[in-house]
Amino acid sequence: MSEKNIFKLTNLVKRFTKGKETLSIFEDLNLSIKEGDFVAIMGPSGSGKTTLLNMLGGVDQPTSGEVEFDGKGIEKLSENQLAKWRASNVGFIFQFYNLMPMLNAHRNVELPLLLTQLKSKERSQRVETALELVGLKDRAKHMPGELSGGQQQRVAIARAVVSDPKLLLCDEPTGDLDRQTADEILEMLQLLNREFGKTIIMVTHDPSAAKFANRVLHLDKGKFVEKELSL
């Protein structure tokens, strides 16, 4: 893990307005995340974990404040600039995998590579490597519906890492899996963090999942309560 910050949030404010009502999620949130870290964000339901992850991933924008990524503010980028930024910097892993049900595992993993200049042959090679990494090389032709939940999440992980982003954002990645499968997935994330240097930010409400992270942040009432974990 380097000493460099991958993220720096300054005076972050996030409010949702619905009609006349304003729901305040964060008022003046500050946070730094080191490059190469594996951070778990915990907290009760509705505490704003997903909202925070959305802002880190550039799919939602703060009401005010700064989100610096690699020293550059991303909060003011246009929607299309953000899409490009996500394509080259972020891999997303969702609770319900979000695979394309009509595409086989290979084609699902290939999706992020369609945003690059890579030739079809090169793409195929990368997809195979990614599937091999998650141990599903022999399932490339399977449709998501033919795979178990754990296997689908592994395909999703392959999709998240295939274009080699430095950041992985995971929202309850094991929320829908049994204990043993969940642990396999978490070990895989740990491997990606340790061996491949991916910065991982993972939202979870599961304390045993949080144990796989290097740093655990507790979000409550819009503020962080930090607890370092002894590994």
Partner: protein
Amino acid sequence: MNSFLSQSFAVIRMNLLSLPRRLWMSLAMIIASAVVVTILLAFLAMARGFEVTLKGAGSDDIAMFLRDGSAAELNSVLSKSQVDLIENAPGIAKDKTGVILSSELYVIVDGIKKTSQTAANIPLRGTSQTGIKMRQDFKLIKGRLFNTGTTEMIVGAGILRQFDGFELGKTIRFGKNKWQVVGVFSTGGNVFESELWSDYRVIQNLYNRGSSVQSIRAKLVEAGDIKQIKEYIKNDPRLNIDVETEADYFSAQGKSLNYMAIFGKVISSIMALGALAGALNTMYTSVADRSREIATLRTIGFSNSSAFVGTLFESLTLSALGGLLGALGAFLLFDGMSTSTLGGSFTQVVFSFELSQDLIVQGMKMALGIGLVSGFFPAWRAARMPVLTAFRTE
């Protein structure tokens, strides 16, 4: 490859692959577009068939003389003295026996339509050997020509198809007069096939026309050149006569069924609005059905234009399939179908539906129009969908 293209191709592929999830709605959209196109093409093919049938009858090298202001042969009358003057007009071709010119009469008789078993008007044309020769496509299919001075007639093939009782050898009664069918003729499908022909002098007699006729056809020396004849007529006050080429005469008559095409366009446009409402619903449902996938792709970094293109392509595909199906339907149901309707002279014209390529293009344009409009707004919605819904749990 260009990233926009590869994104769009991927999204289009996913959209089409997801169609089975919306099978019935998508089929409904295809069928609605197909029905609109079939109906449009039925009217257009009918109008076109009518036009072709009339246009095909007209020659460029025949001048047609009618009384001034009478738009059709039926209400024209030319006196013997006028006929004599026309014979002296310049620019008319000659052979050994003199100018090539056919005096003709055009009276209306009754026939029983096979389809409805009701009486309808048929033209009985009085003509001559010269007149018959002037119809280049004339062919005697059965029997022989009528003899001059007799109540013999030959029957057009269209009449035979659409009316009862005109078979070769039959005796037919029109009023007090009896006629014998001695031959059946074809003129290559044009309007003359919807007529009965006999000797014009016999008709003059039986219908008390004295020595007057209704129209004169004259062979031109130079095809299309009737300027000098027009000049000649203008300079002689006794000739209150209209002259134009036979081609122009029939092409104007062929336009008389243009209201059919217009009517068809109006009807199918109204139906297209209905189809459009259904198609819009289908496409909005498609966007809603794919919202999670769209959001996921957007999160990964796919552009909103790819979501737009994918949705638009889906609706264009469905409507194009509908268009093709509709064209096929029209082809199977109507193409070449023979029917008859009132032509310009209140007589029945027998003609076939003509489904030509350019009409099918018009049908496809209608279908793609439905697809374009019904795809655009849902595609816009797809493109504007917030990205963050991908993380939301269902």
